[in-house]
Amino acid sequence: MTHSTTRGRLARLGLIGLAAGLALTGCSTVGSTAGGDSGATGAADDGTFTVGFATGGQPDADWQQLQGDVAQGLAEQRGWDFVELSNDNSEATATKNADIFIQKGVDVVMMFNGQPSANPVIAKKYEAAGIPVVTFDIAQPGWYFVGVDNAAAGTEGGTSLGELAKEKWDCKVDLVISAEGTAAGQINTWRTGNARDAVKKTCPDIPEGNYVSYEADGNLTTSLANAPGVFAAHPDAKNILVVGLNDQAVVGALQAATQLGRDGSIMGWGQDGGLITGDNVDPNLVGSVMYFLEGYPASAFEIADAIEAGDAPAVKDTGDDAAVSVKPCPVTAEEAASIPSIEDRVSQLASAPKGSTEYDLFCKA
């Protein structure tokens, strides 16, 4: 029965450990109440300005990780502390991250939250803690909005695509496909919906029945899985336009068209510029709207500079009245060919003079 006694001992050890743990909890409760409200993680607030950065954590978008890398570089330039978490594309994680940043006692939070449904709760927490927040692309009352005017980006993309259709096909368009990403909420309405409306405005004679939507979920794999049925269901459409939430969604539709032999006359105009640079651009992706997403932290750090100097600017929290409005940069595929790839842009931005934005550096340079 030796094994049994050993196990018993182990178990008792476990119990003792648990008890010790609970006792410690109690002690530190007392300690902390006595010690006041200093930064709870004891990672001693030594007075250094600290940036808390939450990346989006959507694995399909590499710009989200790059935003974190760019921000880290900018913080190092300034000699600030920098802590990073991932929102993991989950509203529950994003909410927990807020608690962690508050506990850490950061001085400003920057984030992209791709699942913004919990943003009101997150805002409530930061407001109670008195921590200013910079949000990228998704507006929330009380947070500095840094981002592209998504509504304008959608309209500009759609207009450019409409103009091309007018020029090439005399607006004889058989099918306008919207590759939606409904999980993005309002952003999807602005980008995809406004692009669709802009096509409508530029080519008003396209019949209402020629507009179709499908769920592309903002990533190429899902879009490519769902799009073939859409083309099959409209077998007679020849001249086809595609708009969508982002480049991945649009390229998914274009790839499906190629697979079904429907790429004879199809043009897609993306959003976010994720797949318009580099060597492997889809030949039917005629253009995209670049926001240089990875460069957003440069704008956010201007706000942080002011906050650090004790001179926090007034909060501007909507796309129309943004703290920093990133100018959308609509580019055709030819124009995009001269724009460096995302990694090169990140390194060039790092060595550019303080205050440079990617728009200045790269948009139709």
């Binding site: 399909d60 190429l220 049925g229 269901a233 492997n280």
Partner: protein, 338 residues
């Protein structure tokens, strides 16, 4: 010793020790019946869609359905091999898929010739299978739990080490992925070949008969002198190689993908295997029925598009059909057992 309780709710399941398998002749009439019932439901779906939209029966629909079938079909063969061999389920196939696609693309981007890149992709899948197999065999652990762990562990490692991968747009493999043969997508044909070859191998080779025997009753197979460890390891490696081929095909049709890109295949592949009547208790399964069930599941999204419904409905129908199918299957087994 307890029997696997995945099937314990099925009172017809033979308890261990009694030895009798519940369908001695499962390759015969049962396979036919499975095939007929899936073909019938498939036909109902096609007729229903055609009534609403007569233009459903077109070469475009055929292209859409065959394209959708291609990659999930190859992956389903990998899953079927695992299930038939009594390995329960491999939950890490999405990782195997993306890992081998990444290996293929990386080889191409480093200037290696296309055939070499394809072999590297398949080997990467086999290596992944070997990892799972080694843990299962030497840890004597349940494959569902092992592959659950290696599935999210492997995804984590890929997320740490690579962001996105792009196949060179001028490479032969990429051009192959965009082409057609006999009016159907190129990538459809490897799927057909894999199903035929694997199906024949399972029925007519010694290896195949051993796989089925081990899946049907491991202890009895062992008593007959089959080396269980070697058999299991070989099955995992073989299934991994098939998944590797799926990865190669995936890289040929997906110009840019990330580590998580395989997630969407998980449910559809498991669903196809179960719908095909390939019991999770192992030892039975017909790959031609599997082909039918993949075709049926791939038709659902196309039908949904023809009805003009949002694609989320495809998930609802696929889920509901899976429940109904396994319900009917279970009921039938129960009746025959009486």
């Amino acid at each position: 010793m307890t029997t696997s309780l995945i099937t314990a709710a099925d009172p017809a399941a033979a308890p261990e020790g009694r030895g009798g398998r519940r369908r001695p002749d499962r390759r015969g009439p049962a396979g036919y019946r499975d095939a007929l019932s899936i073909a019938a439901v498939w036909l109902v779906l096609i007729v229903a869609t055609t009534v609403v939209r007569p233009d459903f029966l077109s070469s475009q629909t055929l292209l859409a359905v065959t394209f959708t079938m291609s990659i999930s079909g190859i992956l389903a063969v990998a899953q079927a091999i695992i299930v038939i061999s009594g390995g329960l389920l491999d939950l890490s196939l999405p990782v195997a898929l993306v890992f081998s696609a990444w290996a293929t693309v990386t080889a191409l981007n480093n200037g290696l010739p296309t055939p070499v890149a394809i072999v590297i992709g398949i080997l990467a899948g086999a290596a992944w299978g070997a990892l799972n197999g080694l843990i299962v065999v030497f840890g004597k652990l349940n494959p569902i739990i092992v592959t659950l762990a290696t599935g999210f562990g492997g995804l984590a490692v890929m997320l740490i080490f690579f962001t996105s991968a792009q196949i060179p747009s001028a490479s032969d493999l990429r051009l192959y992925g965009l082409g057609r043969f006999l009016g159907l997508p190129n990538i459809f044909w490897p799927m057909v070949i894999v199903i035929i070859v694997a199906g024949l191998a399972l029925h007519f080779t010694r290896w195949g008969r051993h796989v089925v025997a081990v899946g049907g009753n491991a202890q009895a197979a062992k008593a007959r002198g089959i080396n269980l460890r070697r058999m299991r390891l070989a099955t995992f490696i073989g299934a991994g190689a098939v998944a590797g081929l799926a990865g190669v095909m995936f890289s040929a049709v997906t110009p840019s993908f990330t580590a998580a890109a395989g997630a969407g295949f998980q449910l559809i592949v498991i669903g196809a295997v179960i719908l095909a009547g390939i019991s999770l208790s192992g030892g039975k399964g017909n790959l031609l029925v599997l082909l039918l069930s993949i075709g049926f599941l791939a038709t659902i999204p196309a039908s949904i598009a023809f009805f003009g419904l949002p694609p989320a409905w495809a998930l609802v129908f696929q889920g509901a059909l899976l429940i109904i199918a396994v319900g009917i299957d279970g009921y039938r087994l129960k009746r025959t057992a009486r």
